[in-house]
Symmetry: C2
Subunit: 336 residues, 2 copies
């Protein structure tokens, strides 16, 4: 199937998570030994201890790849999501919200009597806008091959994979199955490395798929340095570009570097009014970038679209866009 015949722009496999957002002070992070700005996996007992200690919160659907899908939908892309929930209250909230943005979402939830729960991530936002995430993955990592909707993946221009999910053997098999289906149908495979600790845990197998089916790689500076075990960003970028046709590397306030077939394009970050919450910056960068890509934009324009989408999300609390993204892109001359 050629790209023009496909009816979906992007389908993502990712963690189906409901975020629990609260503003915290540094003392709380210290009390629980949480590395500020990091992402830690917690078990149910740790999750309860942190939750009990934090202030009044707001619940909102999250998940890194799901946030990207929501961002793509806000830009007008046609999208689908595959991720595992349980038939509980948070699972229903996640399913409602991903469908409400316009994504196809039909992954069967685990029944109500399953002993797990829909994943939760406590997102602790500090006064300096940094976010520390404590994630209780719940059932989100239990994505079985039988949950992967092959026709949906065949129908998408891009299959987007969330590195966070690489912790579970069943999910790895699902990823491989999905990659094979996407490639066989002429689609492209995109991977986000998600987190530098995630890269630490899975460096070898990430490198294997990066050298294999992956066509598009998303990473931030810490992640790409960890992947190639170097301290030199340019070295890492060049190595990545030798292994993957298209590489998009984000550098926070320094914008991004896009490498396509060995050609390097640097894009400056957007000027913002106020940094409120960095949650979702990478997710929305990927949304903007993939929107451009599936619309046929050049690598530099894709990078700029990523930076504009990221700039929107870091200026408010929460990881999904709140602005009218189509209007914002028109304003910036990025769409007509």
């Amino acid at each position: 199937m050629s790209a023009a015949e496909k009816s979906l722009d992007v389908v993502a496999l990712g963690a189906a998570i409901v975020d629990i957002l609260a503003r915290v002070d540094d003392a709380l992070l210290d009390r629980h030994g949480l590395p500020k700005g990091g992402m830690v996996l917690v078990d149910s007992e740790q999750a309860t201890a942190i939750y009990d200690d934090m202030g009044q919160a707001t619940e909102v659907s999250g998940g890194s790849a799901a946030n990207t899908i929501a961002g793509l939908a806000a830009l007008g892309a046609s999208v689908g999501f595959v991720g595992k929930t349980k038939d509980d209250q948070l699972g229903k909230i996640f399913a409602h919200d991903i469908r409400a943005v316009g994504a196809k979402f039909d992954t069967p939830p685990f029944p109500a009597d399953h002993n797990g729960a829909t994943a939760r991530s406590m997102i602790l936002v500090s006064s300096d806008a940094q976010r520390t995430m404590c994630t209780d993955l719940g059932v989100s990592g239990l994505l079985d091959v039988s949950d992967v909707p092959t026709p949906l993946i065949e129908d998408a221009k891009v299959l987007y994979l969330e590195g966070y999910l690489w912790d579970n053997e069943a999910t790895k098999a699902s990823f491989r199955h999905a990659m094979t289906a996407a490639k066989a149908a002429g689609g492209q495979v995109a991977l986000t490395l998600s987190d530098s600790f995630c890269v630490e845990r899975h460096r070898d197998s990430f490198r294997e798929i990066i050298q294999g089916p992956v066509d598009i790689l998303f990473a931030n500076e810490a992640e790409i340095l960890s992947l190639y075990q170097t301290e030199d960003f340019e070295d890492a970028a060049v190595t990545a570009a030798q292994e993957v046709p298209l590489v998009a590397l984000t550098r926070s306030e320094n914008g991004c570097v896009v490498m396509r077939d060995g050609v390097r394009v640097a894009v400056e970050a957007e000027v913002i009014d106020e940094l409120v919450d960095t949650t979702g910056a990478g997710d929305q960068y990927a949304a903007g970038f993939l929107f451009g890509l599936t619309q046929g934009a050049d690598p530099g324009t894709c990078g700029r679209m990523g930076c504009v989408a990221a700039a929107e999300v870091i200026q408010h609390l929460g990881a999904r866009p709140m602005a009218d993204m189509k209007a914002l892109f028109r304003e910036r001359g990025l769409s007509s």
Copy 2:
């Protein structure tokens, strides 16, 4: 027990609800026959139909009296809350949040195998900032007399009762029990009429307790007109003042009228920058007012405190304060 010996300022009996907030257009309200600006009770089937039709949402603890308690806590008052949840995910969220603001909350939840659910209220915010509420009361109305913590109520200067809960016989008995305990311990009883439809349903019994144990009455214009079946606000205010020692009547952009022992004080509304979402205006007015009252402020100052607290909450999405309320009150010369 004299007021000085009590360790709590306000204890409220109210509905324990988690709000589901979304922005909607008028067409959605029309499709479901929802009166814009109103509060309707929906069953589980109607709730599902509306939820499926609305966009991505945010979940946040709500409940009218619980919002008032959260507002009081934000101002520095010592508070408690009594309300019924179930041991489900939304019930845990409600319990966490009310405790996280600093309120005592020990009402036992229904067990996980109870066939009801923790109450949900879909709060549909229109572009003109009006909010339409669709509430599925779930187990929140099933507050039994045995759930009422008599010592907690005896220990509070003010017992605050939410009119919305008056629909259920068991809850009425609980209200009466709580009022008796409060009065016997030298406390004051406050009632909010909650909603004009609520007044329509319960006019006679509301009037009976207003002429009886109620010391402080909160109502907006529509509610007080409905209570006394008149179209003349001043008539209604005078009648209320003859039946209750202290009456606080809110009039949206026209501020409020406070009647104490027959003396009328009018307070102008605060000037605001932008009206975003009227949800919680009445709840936060009551919070500001009761804060003043329990600190010994005069009626006019109580009214102004109410107006300042209401003005804060209508300038953002959500029914609980987001600003540093103590600082805001200091800024306005309302506390030192």
